[in-house]
Symmetry: C2
Subunit: 245 residues, 2 copies
C-alpha cells in the first residue's frame, strides 16, 4: 500500500500547535498543491484569505465560538466560495449575470472543499497539523466584514495550520458497510452496525476525555439535526448574492 | 518537498481508462482513506453508492450528458450528501427533526467533497486516474430514482476510477496571487494577472485540442455564470427535504 494512503488514514484534527512558523516557500507550495485539485467547469471558485494580524485572529477566534487555536496556529486562512471573480467577466463579454442559482452555490462550495482538502493533505505530508473551523459560520456577517468580502463571495470555513504540539488518537469512522452501498441506497444492517459503532465511540469519548461524557455517535449527530443550526445562514447568503434560485 | 505534494500537483482528470479492474481489497482501502478525512461536527454526512450494473452505468452516462467514461471506468460511484442517517436518530432520542436548514446542507455537501478528495488522492497515489462527474446533476431526479435515494439524501457528484489510458497535460491554474489574498479580499492586480492567464489558457486549448477553440478562462467561466445553471436543482432539493431554511 502507498505511504500516501497511510498518511490519509492517519488524519486527526490538531488543536494545539508549537510556536514554529511555516516557511513562506513551503506555504506557497501548499497553496499550489491545493489549487491543483479538480474544479467544476474549470470555475476555480475558491479564494483563500490568509490572516496574520493578531487582532484579527483574536476577533475571528471569538466569532468562531472561542476557538483559541485560531490565534495560536502558525497560519490561519479563511476559504471562500467565490462567484465574483468569474462573474466580473459577464459584463466584459456582454452576457447577463445569472450566477445566483443553487447550482452555482453547489459548484463553488464543492470547489472550495476540494481545494482545501488537497492543501490539507499536502500540509500533513510535511508534518503539519490542521483543524477546519466551521465555527466561522456562527458569525458569517462580521467575518465577511472583517475580510471585506464583496457580494458573490462567502466564507465557507477557516483552516488552522501549524506544527502539532499534541498527538490525539485517530477517531474511528462509521463501518464501511454503512457509508458504502451497492447499486442502491439501502439501510439493511445499518442499525446493528451503528449500534456497535455507538459503543466504540462512547468508549472513545470516555477514555479520551478522561472520565468524559461517553456520548454515542447517534446521539451526538441527532442533536445536530434537531437544532435550527446557524439559522442566519440563508439570509446572510441571500444578501451576499447567493439567491438559491 | 514531499512526494505527496508532487502527486497532488500532478492531478489531471482522466477520461479514458484501460480495461484493468481494481482489486476489491484496494477498492476498500481507498474508501477507508476517504472516510478518514475531516467531517464537520463528526456528522459523517456522506454515502457512496457504487454502481457496477452496466445497464445502470449506461443510463447514468446518458443522464450526465453522454459521458462515456461513466460506462468504461473500472469503478463508478455516486457521492451523496446524507442527512437521513443521522436524522433517523432524532426520533430515537425524542428530539424534533430540524435538519433542513441551509447550514445542514452546507455541512453535508462539504463533508462529501472532503471525503471524495481524500479518496481521489489515495487512488492517484496507486496509479489510478479519476474524473468527477458533476453532470449527474443534469438529471438529479432520475439519478436519485435509479439509486433509490430517500429523502434527506442527494447525489452531489459521480466519480470515475480506473487505470489511465491517456496522459493529458496538466491544466494550468489561476496565478496564486489571484486566489490567495492577505488579510482582506482585494482585487488589486487581478485583471492584469487574469489577462496573462487568459492567454496561457487560450494557448493551452488551442494546442491541446489540435486547432481547437482557444477560448480564454474568463470567457469560459463567464458563460457558466451567465446561464441559469441547472435551474431544476432548487426544486429537486426541496422535494428531497433540503429546504434551505
Amino acid at each position: 500500500m502507498s505511504s500516501v494512503i497511510d498518511l490519509l488514514k492517519s488524519h486527526k484534527s490538531i488543536r494545539k500547535f508549537t510556536g514554529q512558523k511555516i516557511e513562506p516557500e513551503l506555504f506557497d507550495i501548499l497553496i499550489d498543491a491545493g489549487q491543483a485539485a479538480a474544479t467544476s467547469s474549470f470555475l476555480q471558485g475558491s479564494t483563500i484569505v490568509r490572516i496574520t494580524d493578531p487582532r484579527k485572529r483574536r476577533e475571528i477566534a471569538e466569532f468562531a465560538g472561542n476557538q483559541p487555536y485560531v490565534e495560536t496556529a502558525a497560519e490561519f486562512m479563511i476559504f471562500c466560495a467565490d462567484l465574483k471573480r468569474a462573474g466580473n467577466y459577464c459584463e466584459a463579454y456582454e452576457k447577463p449575470f445569472e450566477g445566483d442559482f443553487t447550482e452555482h452555490f453547489i459548484i463553488a462550495t464543492v470547489d472550495v472543499a476540494l481545494m482545501a482538502q488537497s492543501l490539507v493533505t499536502a500540509a500533513e505530508s510535511v508534518g503539519l497539523g490542521i483543524c477546519y473551523i466551521g465555527g466561522i459560520r456562527n458569525n458569517p456577517g462580521p467575518v465577511s466584514e472583517l475580510l471585506e468580502l464583496p457580494k458573490g463571495v462567502y466564507p465557507v470555513f477557516g483552516l488552522c495550520l501549524g506544527y502539532p504540539d499534541q498527538d490525539p488518537e485517530i477517531k474511528p469512522r462509521l463501518p464501511r458497510s454503512v457509508i458504502l452501498k451497492q447499486e442502491v441506497y439501502n439501510e439493511e444492517g445499518d442499525p446493528e452496525a451503528i449500534a456497535e459503532y455507538d459503543d466504540l465511540i462512547s468508549e472513545y469519548y470516555r477514555t479520551r476525555t478522561g472520565g468524559g461524557h461517553g456520548i454515542t455517535w447517534s446521539e451526538q449527530v441527532s442533536t445536530l439535526l434537531s437544532e435550527k443550526s446557524r439559522p442566519h445562514m440563508k439570509k446572510f447568503l441571500v444578501e451576499k448574492g447567493f439567491k438559491f434560485r
